[in-house]
């Protein structure tokens, strides 16, 4: 039996993730997802003033800094029971949606679909269309995504002064009101992107597309007109299904969502009890039931991570993040292994849509399960929903031109206590857990979406979601494992993949 190890580096920009895969006769028999970057923000924040988190945590990521800021401010508002006006919630939501839309469009059309142009598919009927649409820098959709995705975060710059790494959310609200100028400028940016999305991505009107409610309706729509089949989402769907991405890459059946976007109509309620526009929950993969989400059920394990060991799992309020690099042990990553109800779970747009009860995604899931194509499709479906929601949010802001954007807290400082902020970032469930003692941060624990998905094995030896989604996969050519690229990219790790083969020393680049 031929056994070999493949090492896959997943970019050095935002994620710093590698995969090590063991292949036996071209079949993946073991997988290790390696977080090669020690983040260290938990230590940086220790003994600092609580509000320092609003400046420091948006630096955790160059893609989802808005989500980090939102989680940080919610945690402080939770501790201080600090009220926020509806306008501030709308501005926060608008910016968070803009950030997610950019990330989703780039992930889809600058990274995921580029793999359809791989020479392996040269004899497939779709190949010429794939190149015309998705070839990097040449294909119409790739070029369009590059041009249009970069403007949407200008909305964040309007309200936050800059993007990325902005700090405009404060306990009690945001720093800038929704002036009519900001609203008009935001609408102009949104309109331009929406027009391109309708023309190039869905080939139809946004509202009409969002009205599709079931798998049958979707597949009828797909073949009803050439414009539908030739839209980016049509091509992506037909190509994915032609090569079987709807039958692969499932991973764990359990899913969580923290719920997305605080409901401005529920502004009078303090987090974490405030309602969300998209619901929170836990999809129990064993029963198929959606159960209420309870953050107390979260634990993190470090059995296979480079941290000082402790028994079993710990809730973030008892969390400990003390680095202990042991490169020659069976520990293999800087990621902890988060678990919910002691189960391996996944998070992201597929989980969010299913838990929220979005009918089309749910119908497709019931028909075929949580496969690689559906995971990617759910991400693009979310873009459509968010473009619609952003317009609605801007309309609401415009309807109340002089509404306050800030309620100054009674107390200047955040009191001692503990709290958490849970948000939905582009890649899924993001949480900050904070404890304040004697006026300074005594514990800060961040659990990112990628920690959930890229989790290593836990104390009981169970693989994380990405790892398990690859185990059992057969690749045609271990020297050029494009199948692995499809599945890994459907999980939305950051940016490009470079594949190294350790046994031959040969290096292969999977370049988008």
């Amino acid at each position: 039996m031929a056994r070999r190890t493949i090492q896959i580096d997943l970019n050095r920009v935002e994620g710093d993730l590698d995969f090590q895969l063991e292949l036996e006769d071209n079949k993946v028999v073991d997988a290790r997802c390696i977080g090669s970057l020690y983040r260290g923000f938990e230590q940086i924040l220790m003994s600092r003033k609580p509000k320092d988190s609003l400046v420091i945590t948006p630096r955790i990521c160059g893609i989802c800094g808005t989500a980090q800021l939102n989680a940080a401010v919610l945690a402080l508002e939770h501790i201080g029971r600090i009220p926020v006006p509806p306008t501030a919630i709308r501005i926060r939501n608008l910016c968070l949606m803009a950030e997610t839309v950019q990330s989703d469009l780039r992930q889809s059309f600058m990274f995921f679909t580029a793999d359809f142009c791989h020479s392996k598919y040269v004899d497939r009927p779709f190949y010429e269309k794939a190149r015309a649409a998705f070839l990097p820098f040449k294909g119409s959709v790739h070029r369009g995504a590059l041009e249009h995705s970069r403007h949407i975060v200008e909305i964040i710059a309007l309200f936050g002064g800059q993007w990325p790494h902005s700090s405009y959310m404060l306990p009690g609200g945001v720093t800038t009101p929704a002036s009519s100028r900001h609203i008009i400028d935001s609408l102009s940016i949104l309109n331009k992107l929406t027009r391109w999305f309708e023309q190039a991505i869905i080939g139809t009107d946004l509202d009409a597309w969002l009205a599709i409610q079931s798998a049958d309706e979707f597949f009828t729509w797909l073949t009803a007109k050439d414009a539908h089949a030739d839209s980016a989402i049509g091509l992506f769907t037909l190509m994915s299904r032609d090569i079987g991405l709807h039958n692969t890459g499932f991973g764990t059946p359990h899913m969580i969502s923290y719920g997305a976007y605080d409901d401005p109509d529920d502004a009078g309620t303090f987090p974490p009890h405030r309602k969300h526009l998209f619901r929170a929950g836990f999809l129990n993969g064993d029963t198929g039931d959606i159960e209420p989400f309870e953050q107390a059920e979260i634990t993190e394990h470090v059995r296979y991570s480079w941290f000082q060991p402790y028994q079993g799992g710990r809730h973030p309020f008892q969390g400990q993040t003390i680095p202990d690099y042991q490169p020659h042990s069976d520990r293999y990553t800087w990621c902890k292994a988060p678990r919910y109800q002691n189960k391996v779970v996944q998070t992201g747009p597929l989980a969010d849509a299913l838990i929220d009860g979005e009918p089309l995604i749910r119908s497709l899931y019931q028909a075929e399960g949580g496969n690689a194509w559906l995971r990617q499709f759910a991400r693009l479906h979310r873009t459509a929903r968010l473009l619609h929601k952003m317009r609605e949010t801007l309309r609401e802001l415009a309807a109340q031109p002089n509404a306050p954007h800030m309620i100054s807290p009674d107390e200047k400082e955040i009191p001692d206590g503990e709290g958490f902020g849970l948000v939905t970032a582009a890649r899924g469930a993001l949480g900050h857990w904070v404890q304040i003692t004697d006026g300074v941060i005594s514990r800060y624990q961040v659990v990112t979406p990628t920690a959930w998905n890229a989790s290593p094995k836990d104390s009981e030896g169970r693989h994380g979601h990405w790892e398990s989604s690859l185990i059992g996969l057969t690749v045609d050519d271990p020297d050029d494992p494009v199948e692995i690229g499809h599945i890994i990219r459907s999980h939305d790790p950051c940016l490009v993949c470079t594949v190294h083969l350790l046994d031959t020393g040969k290096r292969i680049t999977v370049w988008p």
């Binding site: 050095r12 920009v13 820098f137 590059l146 041009e147 970069r150 940016l495």
Partner: protein, 150 residues
């Protein structure tokens, strides 16, 4: 002459990959005329496109691999990178990718020059440059000054 942007790339935490950022620090110690702006692009990836807008010329500074001897300073044009997209080190989306993206979003293109040094090694999480790369910093700054006075 229009505006000129000097855009420095690199990651100071990864050994010689920090070369561009050290050059940036050095450039910031000098005063420049109003039509010159210096930027630290770090590992901004595609977000660095912003630094290439609103300028008629740009000088990009980064670490290089497989161009020559360690410590050697090179002056390159974008076409010199065209056939070797993976040669620049350190950043998942490197300068070749950025330049391709720039062609899509900007017309006409700014005049672009790339100034780089052949580095010894990218050592993850080992701040500090090798001696050869360190010695290349003054040469690089001098080269950039020379380009500006042309």
């Amino acid at each position: 002459m229009g505006t000129l942007h000097i855009v420095c790339f690199g990651n100071e935490l990864h050994g010689d990959d920090g070369f561009g950022i050290r050059v940036y620090a050095q450039l910031c110690r000098s005063t420049w005329t109003k039509d010159v702006e210096v930027f630290n692009a770090g590992i901004a990836g595609l977000n660095a496109l912003r630094f290439l807008e609103d300028c008629s010329q740009a000088i990009l500074v980064d670490a290089l691999a497989n161009f020559g001897n360690v410590g050697e300073v090179f002056l390159l044009r974008p076409e010199d990178l065209a056939d070797r997209p993976e040669q620049l080190t350190g950043h998942g989306l490197g300068i070749p990718y950025l330049l391709e993206a720039l062609k899509v979003i900007r017309e006409p293109q700014p005049d672009i020059l790339i100034v780089g040094v052949e580095i010894a090694a990218v050592n993850p999480f080992s701040p500090g440059l090798s001696d050869e790369t360190e010695h290349a910093i003054p040469k690089t700054v001098q080269l950039i000054r020379g380009l500006l006075s042309e």
